[in-house]
């Protein structure tokens, strides 16, 4: 806080509202808070994208092979839906195609987390009130948050532009790719800034921005599945589609960057207009009064009340994703059949059987890894309740720690069953065939999902200070599963993730051994974690 003491005590008072006063100090405060998180995001995202060049070269090492891939992409909807269309057969073009979308998505996630963390989170916790009482302008907190996001996204864009200029085959292409990824980051940074003005809850602001991101992905995927070369108007409705339309390493359309920039400016201006008008801590969506008497009488009801919104959101999202991917499944065989290497990637992700099944199995696998994020988040709600001092008065009542934890754990582990069932239902309905096997395939992922949740229980119960590390474990599994097969990682690395241990369903043979072993492991870790919770001090 010493840096905040630099307020100009001895400067004669200036007149005017000075809406940006204190921005520099707040920016330094934000960078100080994020000194670990920010470099990790930037280096990992840029590193994954740049190292993609080497991977692509090892897979498609001749121009003929790359040209073949380009040709097959124009005929296949399914892979276009996942990765977008391919505009160039250069190494850089393939990197942009295979890794660009993922990096843009992650840059958007990073940006929304940064901006909400330094705006609505600060206000919700009451910290902003103290800062705003110092010499801090009305628009300074928002500016500092957006500048932090700008620094991170500029870092990613520059690293990619420099790092891919050589291996990608075109400096201009590398610059266009870097700018498109950084631009998507800033687009969602300003969208988060806007959401932070509209809602009083940081959780809700994050959820709304993430939902917009998911919607953008779905629009782009649907558009790309329907038409090749990104000609569907649907892709123009999605910011992630714009990133595609820039066509880095192909016939680059620089003017699309101006569209991104304009959207960033418009959203930013809106957020600024709202930020200047509202009260600190308040929002434009007012809180309605609640009931004068309550019907909640158990901690399980309380947990359900606190988490039901998130769970219903996950379930609806998974149902929609299942419907979308299920309807694309038949097209998968077309493309993959024509390229030996792509077939290999897919089979590594989805198993050895027929290609439609392999596609479905790959989708089930990836969605299950995303579902693990729900489980981790629901388990860590316990940690959140404890550190926010809300657990203390609850546990000072006639409530044991285990029954208290049980409510949230039911939503975490039981919720996994619900959302994977929704995924399975969606896929089966979308595909219109194999109802039982597809639903079973989705549910067969449960042991791995539960295992990641049980890691969170273990960390929370035994090492509560390290509870957030369970995000890292889940994130690592997601990265291994999503990019691992394409990076041609050795199989022991792929096997590190519990998802790598499970049978590839539908299509593969149902092996019970890994399912039972992973389930037993999940039960064991959860038990150890709960035993730790019973024995330890509450964090105060």
């Amino acid at each position: 806080m010493t840096t905040l003491a630099e307020a100009p005590h001895h400067v004669p008072p200036r007149t005017g509202s000075r809406p940006f006063a204190g921005t520099g100090t707040l920016l330094r405060l934000a960078l100080r808070q994020d000194r670990l998180m920010l470099p990790v995001w930037v280096l990992v995202l840029a590193g994954v994208t740049i190292s993609g060049a080497g991977t692509i070269e090892s897979f498609y090492d001749t121009e003929a092979e790359r040209a073949e891939l380009l040709r097959s992409m124009t005929t296949n909807g399914s892979l276009r839906a996942m990765y977008g269309p391919l505009f160039s057969d250069s190494v850089g073009g393939l990197v942009a195609w295979r890794f660009g979308g993922f990096s843009a998505l992650m840059a958007a996630v990073m940006s929304l987390l940064i901006v909400i963390r330094h705006t609505r989170d600060e206000e919700e916790s009451g910290r902003q009130e103290m800062l705003s009482a110092a010499v801090v302008g009305r628009r300074a907190p928002l500016t500092a948050a957006l500048l932090t996001a700008l620094i991170a996204n500029t870092g990613i864009a520059l690293l990619i532009a420099i790092g891919l200029a050589g291996p990608g085959g075109s400096a201009a292409g590398a610059l266009a790719l870097g700018l498109s990824i950084g631009g998507i980051g800033m687009l969602f940074a300003t969208m988060a800034a806007l959401m932070a003005q509209l809602t009083e809850s940081a959780r809700l602001a994050r959820g709304l921005t993430a939902a917009a991101l998911g919607g953008a992905y779905a629009l782009r995927a649907a558009g790309d599945a329907a038409t090749h070369a990104g000609s569907s108007p649907l892709t123009w409705l999605s910011p992630l589609g714009w990133a595609e339309h820039i066509r880095p390493f192909g016939a680059t359309r620089w003017w699309v960057l101006a569209l991104l920039a304009a959207a960033v400016l418009v959203q930013g201006a809106l957020a600024y207009a709202l930020a200047g008008r509202r009260d600190v801590g308040m929002s434009f969506l007012p809180t309605r009064p609640g009931p004068a008497a309550g019907r909640l009488t158990t901690t399980t009801q309380l947990a359900w009340r606190l988490q039901r919104g998130a769970l219903l959101g996950w379930a609806a999202g998974f149902l929609l994703a299942g419907l979308a991917f299920g309807s694309m499944a038949d097209g998968a065989a077309e493309l993959v059949g024509e390229n030996e290497d792509a077939r290999e990637i897919f089979q590594r992700m989805g198993g050895q059987s027929g290609l439609t099944s392999a596609f479905l199995a790959a989708i089930v696998g990836i969605c299950a890894m995303v579902a693990a994020l729900h489980v981790v988040s629901a388990v860590l709600r316990l940690h959140g309740e404890e550190t926010a001092q809300r657990a203390e008065p609850v546990l000072a009542n006639a409530v044991g720690r285990l029954p208290w934890a049980a409510g949230h754990l039911t939503i975490a582990f039981g919720g996994a069953i619900v959302i994977l069932s929704c995924l399975g239902l969606g896929l089966a309905i979308g595909h219109g065939d194999q109802f039982g096997p597809i639903l079973g395939a989705a549910l067969a992922q449960l042991p791995a999902v539960w295992l990641l949740g049980s890691v969170a229980v273990l960390l929370y119960g035994v090492f509560p200070r390290a509870a957030a590390a369970s995000w890292g474990v889940a994130g690592a599994c997601l990265a291994i599963g999503w990019i691992g097969p394409a990076l041609d990682l050795p199989s022991w690395v792929l096997d590190l993730s519990p998802f790598g241990q499970l049978p590839k369903l539908p299509g593969g043979s149902l092996e019970w051994a890994p399912i039972l072993v992973l389930t037993a492991l999940a039960i064991a870790l959860t038990s150890v974690g709960l035993a730790g919770l019973r024995r330890r001090d509450l964090q105060t």
Binding site: E124, E200, S201, T287, R288, P289, G290, P291, A292, A293, G294, R295, L296, T297, T298, T299, L302, R305, L306, A388, Q389, R390, E392, P393, V394, L395, A396, N397, A398, V399, G400, R535, R536, D537, L538, T540
Partner: protein
């Protein structure tokens, strides 16, 4: 079993930082017991140990005849707790939280709930985020006072309450005592302690430094005496328990330990007393002595 709380030799460290260093505490049934000490002296840590939220490193403890760690859940049916800083769920209304706490404790008195909401002038329909600090405290206070328990543990419960509400609070505590309930009240408001508490314990750096009724504690401190005498004073300096003696001609100013007052007065009357002002120690002085000792033994500001 006549005591509600017995603690002896309680130790608790967080890592290498000792928070409680052999603390003793004994609270009789049916009394309002003041629990005092400077910031960071271990009051809240003690309370959390008593609630079974923290586990003691060593020491003997009983709360309502049970072990606060082992019997936490059964004991909590008979205990209501109000923390000094109440945090609420942003999307639950105050009324919902009151009923939730009541339900978790095993029911609350609907009539008392309504009466308390009225007396504390609380709007139970507002959501957690929209309450001010004082109103959040009221939510916890209503939940505690409306429940049927034997022991109330209140950790600086009135922080943020306005003077009017402070009075309502004092009325509620007095009513609880009249109904035979035990109250452990941690507080910094000395007037509140003076009004409500039968006995107090003062702790410092995790140890109990003073315990007893207010009268007993007063007895241990000094009375200040100012007198105008007919002749020059006698050998006051030699009397035991006399401090800070100032003599200006026939005027005398001194501090005397209260249980040594007799001898001083005798000596003063020997010299013929024209006027006499004797001030008993204020509670403030009593506490300040302990509080300032905590900061490296500085002199008591007078």
């Amino acid at each position: 079993m006549t005591r509600a709380i017995t603690v002896s030799g309680l130790h608790k460290s967080f890592g290498r930082t000792p928070a409680l260093d052999g603390l003793d505490l004994s609270v009789e049934r049916g009394e309002v017991h003041g629990f005092l000490g400077p910031n960071g002296s271990g009051k809240s840590t003690t309370i959390r140990v008593l609630l079974g939220l923290l586990r003691a490193d060593s020491g003997a403890m009983q709360v309502l005849g049970g072990d606060p760690w082992r019997d936490a859940v059964t004991l909590h049916r008979r205990i209501a707790y109000v923390p000094g800083d109440v945090t609420l769920w942003r999307n639950l209304s105050g009324g919902e939280v009151i009923d939730l706490y009541g339900g978790l404790r095993g029911g609350l008195d609907r009539a008392r709930r309504a009466e308390l909401i009225e007396r504390f002038q609380l709007d139970p329909t507002r959501k957690g985020r929209t309450y001010s600090k004082g109103n959040r405290q009221k939510v916890a206070l209503v939940a505690a006072f409306a429940s049927d328990v034997d022991l109330l543990i209140l950790d600086e419960p009135t922080s943020g309450l306005d003077p009017l509400m402070e009075e309502v609070f004092q009325g509620c505590v007095a009513a609880e005592r009249d109904r035979g309930r035990t109250v452990l009240l941690s507080s910094h408001l000395l007037s509140e302690v003076e009004t409500l508490c039968d006995r107090v314990s003062i702790i410092r750096r995790g140890q109990t430094v003073e315990t007893g009724s207010l009268a007993e504690l007063r007895h241990l401190t000094r009375t200040s005496v100012t007198a105008e005498l007919a002749t020059a004073p006698g050998p006051l300096r030699e009397l035991p328990g006399v401090h800070d003696l100032v003599v200006q001609g026939n005027r005398v100013k001194l501090q005397v330990e209260t249980d040594r007052l007799d001898a001083v007065l005798r000596s003063l009357t020997d010299s013929g007393v024209r006027s006499l002002i004797s001030t008993p120690p204020t509670l403030e002085e009593l506490f300040l002595r302990h509080y300032t000792d905590d900061r490296g033994g500085q002199a008591v500001p007078r």
